[in-house]
Assembly symmetry: C2
Homo-oligomer: 597 residues x 2
């Protein structure tokens, strides 16, 4: 019996003991995080799935794993199809699958700390049609059978200085207090880890790739706050930084504290606060106002210090990536580079700048067919050589104290085929269409998504992921609420109006299963755009990422004059930002790569 | 006291008598129609507003009228600002306004036959925050004070032959019955008038511009149906056409019939069936399944007979419009044409073809600044001469037994300014971008909307309406569910995936208040698009409307080669379709207007 087979069997035994006919396993934690601490990686432990989005449902005879278009290939590699059926969202959902597969009248368990109340309501309704019941568990049955489950991290919090944040925590909390007065509310629950880190100007090390600390918080309408975090994680520096306005409690005191809020009017975010939080407030007799977590929008709209910090981080990151691409241009044709070596080398170049705290996600290093796996994560088993006359895709980013980066470059090793050049150029044209877009205030990200796809569509092609996501300031590399993604597609967030100061990625791609993958990704800043004679306040994008785009993949004849101008101007800026940081062969290589087309 | 002032005062007296503190007046009828019979034109009677979308709310001291961006100018012309405050949707809503303005603890009336249940639920919730109550009325208080209120139309139904419909009513009902079996439901309520006309292959004359008859229906899962319509409107031919499978009842028997459905599982459409229908079903003890009216999607996806019929109608309509444009090119420069004369003349050209049953909406005939009023309706008071060196906008359509048309042309009288040419060319480029779009199956109309706006956005300009609406087959000129409009904008329907066979308008515009309006509108058919090497099933548009686009407004240097090719190919097709129907000067004029650029 394989490890995962044994774990699934153990879970089923535990469910029997708990008198449950099934159990739902999401990827997230008590904070609805995308990346979760090792203590909370229940889905990976149970199934082997290593992607950043997914969930599973286990019944006595059947089990299913649910992933979106980005993970269609990866889930088949990592999760055993003999024990798990592969399900695609948004085409199906856990609730729909349970409705079709759960036993009539069965009891299906869920952990109320790992789901939103809307999810619970929908799943309850779906199961009710089968006469089945959705039952909250007191203890997660996976935890019961996970013998060597890691403890939550005990890493200490660190103060994130105002030089980087551009605004003190007290000022942020005062703005929230003003907003709470407008809402006639007493307090707001913050349970999203990046909202808490942003609000208190602290960072942590409890989650891979995202510098946040396991905690909960309440911000009150007098500007004070209650922060719930393991006391052993708080040193004197942090305590002093937080000041008298912040009462520090143990993390496990959060739920009891909620239960003390009888009669209070409390804002809670139905997308970010889990079901258990709403239940605790309801049981307490608090009046719940369902609104978005008040940190979300101000966190997304970067201030001048955050923007300047990001520019500095991008300059370093662009130099590191450019050095790597130069190294690759020499080494890869020798046939000695594989995906793991490339990850290692890129990491070294980033570390050499001295400021790197972490990667902002696991580097996607995809040679040939592995590049077609959208969120590929290289391992010893899947590791491939970078071969001549193939394409190599590298998507990576760094966490620096002044900024979070995320960049994808696709490079030809040897001679690309005409098809590769055609596909790359269509992706690049889409990228340029977004980069050059001008749009009125109030425009939602979803209104720009098709600009990125149009040239692929003309050839009957497309890509199964969004075009862009928000990005944090030394915080989560995937940050809401803004997003450039197809409206109505189930990929939430394309509905948010874009506002000056927001960071987004611009990353169209094309993936040919079994052959190669292409993606061109830069980060962009939403900024006001003054236009002579304009009748509306207009916005546009400033590209923030600086690294050369591989000219050997560009079919110049397919570019319009405006697109060629954009690429030449972009490369001129890359040279201006990165050039002074390089010398010798690397600089000469950069100059050649950035010469006008 | 003016007429409208007196009517508002009379309504307020009636509200007092009915012990109400306010009343909500929508534009629609018991069928959620866009165009309504004269008996139901309560909003126009009360306020003077003649637009096709809007609503009003009346309180003891205040009254407000709510319209969208298309009617911002028109509402100010038609409705007295001393008695009515102008409110814009979607920025505000009746519910929000009532929440802010209704008296604490007040009773606000509404007619449950004129609102959806979702509207009622939202408005109830908003008022509850004020301690105010939303109260259904037994009799509409406007009807009580509207002394000379017209009777509902008594026009007879006519059979719409299978040659035009392409499918018998029995076959349509059988498909609905199969669908009802899948839903495990007994029957579906049809209350949308075009759904009923489509399902039974009948047409009526009860509503201006839309050939429908006042009626309700239930389609049962055995393929039979109950049709509720005034018996005096049904002749032997229609009775025979309907056959034994359709039981005909009086229209007023509909609500009592609903109350007889205890224990039945009944499909009702929350977007199309009014609150009173849901209430009757609930009171009866029926089990309601909330699903879209099963006629909506098959009605939107036209079959071969409907498409061929539409092409024939377009050929006639294009010839009529071309004759009109030729006439205009001669007469307008003489200074003798005004907006009303133009409407009359265009109508004559359409009638001359012999098949015209009605216009598909009130012709928008806007000279100079009147063209900037998006849904302008000319009257004796507003009538303007077509002046030299100005722009004239004409948006019109015909109801023919084989098809419904809708077309807008903008023409220069004399010499247009460089700005007019620039704006027109940006609008045309957007029109062409939609016409040439290729997109995968599953794409929603909202994903294409920005293609139409991009060239205006580049100049800081935009237009405050959707880009395209669905169109019926000798039915409503505005037909759902498909629509090309900004996602998340509150203009519903941009979420519907486009499917081969759907008709849509493609009508970007630009409006300079007080100066001129521009719109270029053709109808298009969604059709499969075969592309060499495509990895997905792709769709595109075939343009269905044929009339010359004014070349004197085109700044040729702003067109890309592909755009110029499109325009030349379009004009070649106009010449091929319309040319053979013209002769003499008109034909020579058409040939010149369609010559390649």
């Amino acid at each position: 019996m394989s490890t995962y087979e044994a774990r699934l069997a153990a879970l089923r035994e535990q469910l029997k003991a708990d008198r449950l006919d099934g159990f739902v396993v999401p990827l997230t934690d008590e904070h609805m995080s995308e990346y979760v601490g090792s203590y909370a990686q229940r889905l990976a432990w149970l199934t082997g799935f290593q992607g950043s989005a997914g969930s599973a449902a286990v019944l006595p005879q059947e089990a299913a794993i649910f992933t979106d278009g980005r993970y269609t290939l990866q889930v088949r590699d990592q999760v055993d199809g003999r024990h798990w059926s592969y399900q695609s969202v948004p085409e199906t959902s856990v609730a729909d699958w349970l409705k079709a597969h759960a036993p009539d009248g069965g009891r299906i368990g869920y952990d109320p700390w790992l789901h939103t109340k809307d999810w619970v309501a929908r799943a309850k309704e779906a199961l009710a049609e089968k006469g089945a019941e959705l039952v909250p568990v007191q203890r997660n049955p996976i935890d019961a059978v996970w013998a060597d489950k890691p403890e939550p991290s005990k890493a200490r919090l660190v103060v994130h200085p105002d030089d980087f944040t551009g605004k003190s925590s007290a000022a942020k909390r005062q703005e929230m207090a003003d907003w709470l007065h407008e809402q006639k509310a007493d307090a707001a629950v913050l349970s999203a880890l990046d909202s808490i880190a942003w609000t208190f100007n602290v960072r942590g090390e409890d989650v891979e790739h995202t510098p946040v600390a396991l905690s909960f918080a309440l911000v009150n309408n007098d500007g004070t706050a209650d922060l719930f975090v393991a006391s052993e994680k708080i040193g004197d520096d942090v305590r002093q930084h937080l000041g008298n306005g912040v009462r520090v409690h143990e993390r496990h005191a959060f739920e009891p504290h909620l239960r003390s809020l009888a009669g209070k009017i409390v804002v809670a975010d139905p997308e970010r606060a889990v079901h258990a939080i709403f239940e605790a407030l309801e049981k307490a007799g608090a009046k719940i106002v369902q609104k978005r977590d008040p940190a979300v929008l101000p966190k997304a709209i970067k201030n001048r210090a955050e923007i300047e910090g990001h520019r500095a981080a991008q300059a370093r990151d662009g130099a590191a990536l450019s050095r790597f691409l130069h190294w690759l241009s020499i080494e890869a044709p020798k046939g000695t580079v594989d995906e793991l070596i490339a990850v290692e080398k890129l990491q070294q170049f980033r570390q050499a700048c001295g400021d790197l705290r972490d990667t902002s996600f696991d580097t996607i290093s995809g040679a040939g067919p592995n590049g077609a796996i959208v969120h590929y994560r290289v391992s010893e088993e899947t590791n491939r050589k970078l071969e001549m006359n193939s394409i190599y895709l590298v998507d990576s980013g760094g966490q620096y104290p002044d900024g979070t980066t995320d960049v994808t470059r696709t490079v030809a090793i040897g001679e690309p085929t005409p098809e590769m050049r055609d596909r790359f150029t269509r992706v690049l044209k889409g990228h340029i269409a977004v980069a050059r877009a001008v749009f009125p205030e109030g425009t939602r990200g979803g209104q720009l998504d098709s600009f990125a796809r149009q040239y692929l569509w003309q050839a009957g092609l497309d890509y199964a992921h969004g075009t862009g996501h928000g990005v944090g300031a030394y915080l989560a590399v995937h940050e809401g609420p803004q997003r450039i993604s197809p409206p109505g597609s189930g990929q939430a967030g394309g509905d948010e109006p874009l506002q000056a100061g927001m960071f987004l990625s611009n990353e169209p791609g094309y993936y040919k299963t079994g052959e190669y993958g292409i993606r061109v990704e830069n980060l962009v800043l939403v900024e006001p755009r003054r236009i002579e004679g304009a009748e509306k306040r207009m916005l546009g994008f400033e590209t923030l990422t600086f690294a050369p785009i591989d000219r050997t993949l560009v079919e110049v004849g397919m570019l319009s004059p405006e697109e060629r101008d954009w690429l030449n101007a972009y490369h001129a800026k890359v040279l201006a930002v990165v050039g002074p940081q390089l010398d010798g062969d690397a600089k000469a290589w950069l100059e050649a790569g950035c010469a006008p087309l």
